[in-house]
């Protein structure tokens, strides 16, 4: 079942002549693990941000569960994002003055929902952060911080998790651990994951790989 479709998606930044993305058409099925690869500046991150409702396209549409996300106003889009999209960044982007638990539960709390303790415990255990639950991001290693970011992305069981080079700032061991966690979420919970990476070894672990070059998409595998 297709849960995410992008139709004729284009993006042009103000003051630039070339298109960052040029007429991208993409369909993602539920439970898919999609890797996006491509050289620097090819438009990978732009595509990811457009798929996640973080940035707005110049033309085209993105539908998640048949909802045209760019037809939503700012408030509805924000609510949509916190419920249906989980974002993981290369540099973690955690709130420095909130603890591990507070960072993970933030999207739930922003939604006015009560945090399910069993789910939180399960996530903390899965991420190996049970003993670090009260630590601040500054007291954690890079790998641990990225695990917190994964926990935050997964807490609301979103329709899709978007990860922008989640291992780009980590060593090989930590990179493998993060990939294992994402795989576990994908296989055990059927979590749909779209991941950007430069690393061919990481890309090989995905069920499908697409390449972006000069804003255009090629199906690789």
């Amino acid at each position: 079942m297709e849960i995410l479709t992008a139709s004729h998606l284009s993006k042009q930044y103000p003051g630039e002549q070339n298109l960052a993305l040029d007429d991208i058409n993409l369909a993602v099925t539920a439970g898919e693990f999609l890797a996006i690869v491509g050289p620097s500046g090819s438009g990978k991150s732009t595509l990811l941000h457009l798929l996640g409702g973080v940035d707005r396209p110049s033309s085209g549409s993105v539908k998640l569960y048949h909802t045209d996300i760019y037809a939503l106003n700012e408030t509805k889009l924000a609510i949509f994002r916190r419920r249906q999209v989980g974002l993981i960044y290369q540099f973690y982007n955690l709130i420095p003055n909130l603890t591990v638990t507070e960072n993970i539960t933030l999207p739930t709390e922003l939604d006015g929902q009560k945090v399910e303790q069993t789910r939180l415990e399960q996530i903390l255990a899965t991420l190996g952060l049970s003993d670090k639950r009260n630590a601040l991001p500054g007291q954690l290693s890079g790998g641990q911080q990225q695990r917190v970011a994964i926990g935050r992305a997964l807490i609301n069981q979103p329709a899709v998790v978007l990860a922008d080079e989640p291992t780009g700032n980590l060593d090989q061991r930590n990179s493998q651990e993060i990939m294992q966690l994402l795989h576990a979420a994908n296989i055990k919970q059927g979590q749909t994951i779209i991941l950007i990476t430069h690393d061919p070894l990481i890309a090989q672990q995905a069920s499908r790989v697409i390449t972006i070059e000069d804003g255009q998409m090629k199906e690789t595998r």
Binding site: G15, V54, E74, R83, L98, L110, R152
Partner: protein
């Protein structure tokens, strides 16, 4: 705890320095609001109490029965009460003793009061003598006072067909506001009164008129029998005159608007600084689903939460400051024997008003940063603030100055300055702050310098001219070691009338003053001289101009001398005077002692000339007075000299202006304290705003500066670049602010008519002060910038904030 509250509390805890800086900035604004409101309330109650004490109460129930009076007293509504008995009107037996204006009808109200009520109701009106202490003593109104009706004399009245003798013991001022009927006032005779009047001060000061009407209605007293102390009620904002109420409240409103603008800028700068610094975090929160509304809520809550400790601090400093100032001023009043007591009033009204004011200002100040925060896009977080600023083609174009600049750092600074997207906002803030500082401090300084400061001399002596008296006077002055300056002249009761076409003086009469031959030669070069002084000329537009009384430097023409005697007989003495010099008083050293610059001037001739001119008129010798003016080295020791002069010259008129001016001087000091307090707080707000502004820009640029450092720019070079950028901004803000501030000051001074417009000067001192402060800030900025640059972790800043 709600997630937004938790986010804010965590931010406060982890960013202590920024939190404290914001609280302190807000506290300065809160202090000013609290000080103004508590100060206003204190002044309001001080004047209310003064008015109440001057009349004995606030409400009068007139012409009521003894029963009604007792019922009213039993009501328990009053903080203090006084009463008087109105007796049947009386007639003076000796009608000849009445002044012409009062001869008909010969009909006088007579009021009886107990000793306590006399003290309360009549003592403030007493002009001379003492209050009646026995049933035979009587007080008369000052318009009945004459040669025949004086203290110590007998006054016989006809009351109910019977004669009664009283002894006059004093006079009272019948024109001062009060509740005592104008007429004769005597001690309580224990007789049944025609009617009584009850004067009260209510315990509850709200809606006094309504309270009085309710009490009157409950006791079958008509509304017509009520009268009020209108001056006291005016101070409580309960005047029936809407115009007066508007005037009272507009004064406090103007002060609050000024403070509001200054506080708004200061608080806005502080909150804006926090919001800008947290932009990336807001973007991140938006990316994980925080709605714009939640983000606005976050900023508003942050501002309001910080406003609470700021307000508490403001209460502490504002109330403490006012209490301290009032205590010191009251000590000053006691020291100078000024019958004035400032009340320190802290009640819920100013405290609540200050809280509402602060919350409103905080909400207003937070509005723009909150909206800006809510517009933060998630992409801001993801791209780590690397969004290009929106620049116009004009901003990108290099000016000739930039093109011809060969120093790379200067060139970069000029480019940065030109392309600074926040430049306009910062410039507006800086200009407004400088303009507020210059206009208001100049205006307040002007008010202070134009406050009444009394006469020029400390002591003056006027007595009939006699050579032996003059010698004795000179001797006393010579023996005293407390004389700073002295001047002795002879002033005739003859006026000199001159015919001058030019200047505002045409037709002016001048007093004729004579000086001895030696002084006439030394000071006036043997020329009859007109002492030229200044007057105010008012034009139709309401503009006042300060002008010299005489426009010319010489006068040649007829002078008509007249005396009081000649006026009545219409035989003036007209003489021609050759070449009368007209000299501004400012050039006559020592003469300002007796001729103030805004006085009426005089015509000076020598004693010899005087005798020659007036010999044919046979003017009596006593028509010329000896006039001496003295300033003292130690003004606190004025009593000793006054007593010595009084002892030596018992018939002389000795005016001790130090004693006489004590009240006006003390009031002038009070004005100065209030104005200086206002200036200080306003300056503090201006300073805090500029510092806040400057450093907010620095913190915002830290990431960009780290990038410059990463490509090899030294901290010194970056500091230089920033100093140029900041210096240009400050110079522009100072220049435009000075022009606008001076214009506002000029308009304020013109509208208030404190000083004539032609003597208004550019507020150079204030402009220079603003400039010096900005230079100091610039220096501190350079030092701190260099420190930050040499200690910051470039790697962390470049990777992530």
């Amino acid at each position: 705890m709600n997630v937004i509250t938790r986010l804010n509390l965590r931010s406060f805890r982890t960013e202590k320095k920024r939190t404290i800086a914001t609280i302190l900035a807000m506290a300065i604004a809160a202090t000013m609001a609290v000080a103004i409101l508590v100060g206003f309330r204190s002044v309001q109650l001080t004047i209310y109490n003064r008015e109440r004490q001057a009349t004995g109460g606030v409400i009068a129930f007139n012409q009521i029965t003894a029963r009604q009076k007792d019922k009213l007293l039993a009501s328990g509504h009053f903080a203090s009460t006084a009463s008087l008995k109105e007796m049947k009107p009386v007639k003076l037996v000796d009608k000849k003793r009445l002044p012409t204006a009062l001869k008909t009808p010969n009909h006088f109200e007579i009021t009886e009061l107990t000793s306590k009520n006399l003290n309360k109701l009549v003592a403030p009106l007493l002009e001379s003598g003492h209050l009646p202490k026995t049933q035979q003593e009587i007080l008369i109104p000052n318009d009945l006072s004459s040669e025949q009706n004086r203290s110590g004399q007998k006054l016989t009245v006809l009351a109910a067909g019977q004669k009664k003798d009283y002894q006059i013991v004093g006079t009272y001022n019948a024109y001062l506001p009060g509740f005592v009927p104008t007429g004769l006032i005597t001690y309580d005779q224990q007789q049944v009164a025609t009617s009584e009047t009850l004067i009260v001060t209510p315990k509850n000061l709200t809606a006094i008129r309504a309270q009085a009407q309710q009490l009157a209605s409950n006791n079958q007293i008509s509304a017509k029998q009520l009268s009020f102390n209108e001056n006291a009620l005016l101070m409580l904002g309960q005047s029936t005159n809407a115009h007066q109420r508007v005037e009272l409240y507009s004064t406090i409103l103007i002060c609050l608007v000024i403070v509001g603008i200054a506080a708004l800028i200061l608080i806005f700068t502080s909150i804006n600084l926090s919001v800008r610094a947290r932009r990336q975090r807001y973007g991140l929160l938006r990316s994980i689903g925080m709605t714009p509304k939640q983000l606005r809520h976050l900023v508003y809550q942050q501002a309001l939460t910080l406003a609470i400790p700021a307000l508490l601090l403001g209460y502490l400093v504002g109330i403490g400051g006012i209490a301290f100032a009032i205590q010191r001023l009251n000590q000053l009043f006691v020291k100078n024997h000024v019958n004035m007591q400032l009340y320190f009033a802290v009640d819920w009204l100013p405290l609540l008003s200050a809280a509402i004011f602060m919350m409103l200002i905080t909400l207003l100040a937070a509005a723009s940063p909150a909206i800006r925060a809510s517009h933060t896009t998630p992409i801001a977080a993801i791209r780590s603030l690397s969004i290009s600023p929106k620049l116009t083609r004009h901003q990108l174009k290099e000016t000739r100055l930039i093109e011809h600049c060969h120093k790379p750092i200067l060139k970069l600074a000029l480019k940065n300055y030109r392309r600074n997207a926040q430049k306009l906002t910062m410039l507006v803030m800086l200009t407004t702050t400088v303009a507020i500082f210059i206009s208001l401090t100049s205006f307040a300084t002007n008010v202070i310098s134009n406050a009444p400061s009394g006469t020029n001399e400390d002591l003056s002596v006027t007595m009939t001219n006699a050579p032996e008296q003059e010698i004795a006077l000179k001797q006393i002055l010579k023996q005293s070691n407390n004389i700073k300056k002295s001047l002795i002249i002879h002033k005739s009761n003859i006026d000199a009338s001159l015919v001058i076409a030019k200047g505002p003086s045409s037709g002016t009469d001048l007093p004729l003053v004579t000086v001895d031959a030696q002084r006439f030669k030394r000071d006036f070069n043997n020329h009859p001289t007109i002492i030229n002084t200044q007057i105010y000329e008012e034009f139709s537009g309401g503009n006042r101009i300060r002008a010299w009384l005489f426009a010319e430097k010489h006068y040649q023409g007829p002078v008509t001398f007249t005396t009081d005697l000649q006026r009545s007989t219409k035989h003036p003495q007209k003489v021609m005077l050759d070449d009368v010099h007209i000299v501004p008083i400012t050039q006559l050293i020592g003469y300002q002692l007796l001729f103030p610059i805004d006085g009426g001037g005089a015509l000076i001739i020598s004693t010899t000339q005087y005798h020659e001119l007036f010999k044919p008129l046979k003017i009596p010798k006593d028509s010329i007075d000896l006039l001496a003016g003295v300033t003292l080295k130690n003004r606190d020791k004025h009593i000793a000299l006054t007593n010595a002069l009084k002892q030596r010259f018992p018939n002389a008129e000795i005016y001790d202006s130090i004693s006489a001016n004590a009240e006006s001087t003390t009031i002038a000091i009070t004005m100065r304290v209030i104005a200086l307090g206002f200036i200080s707080l306003l300056s503090l707000i201006s300073l805090a705003t500029i510092i806040n502004h400057t450093f907010s820009a620095l913190i915002e640029q830290r990431r960009g500066l780290a990038m410059l450092q990463s490509i090899g720019t030294t901290p010194g070079q970056v500091t230089k670049m920033l100093s140029i950028q900041n210096g240009l901004m400050m110079f522009k803000g100072w220049l435009i602010g000075s022009i606008i501030g001076s214009a506002i000051y000029y308009e304020l001074a013109k509208q208030s008519q404190i000083e004539p417009i032609n003597t208004l000067n550019l507020p150079v001192a204030q402009i220079m002060m603003a400039g010096i402060v900005l230079i100091l800030i610039q220096l501190i900025f350079a030092i701190i910038t260099h420190h930050i640059l040499t200690h910051q972790n470039i790697d962390v800043l470049i990777r992530n904030d």
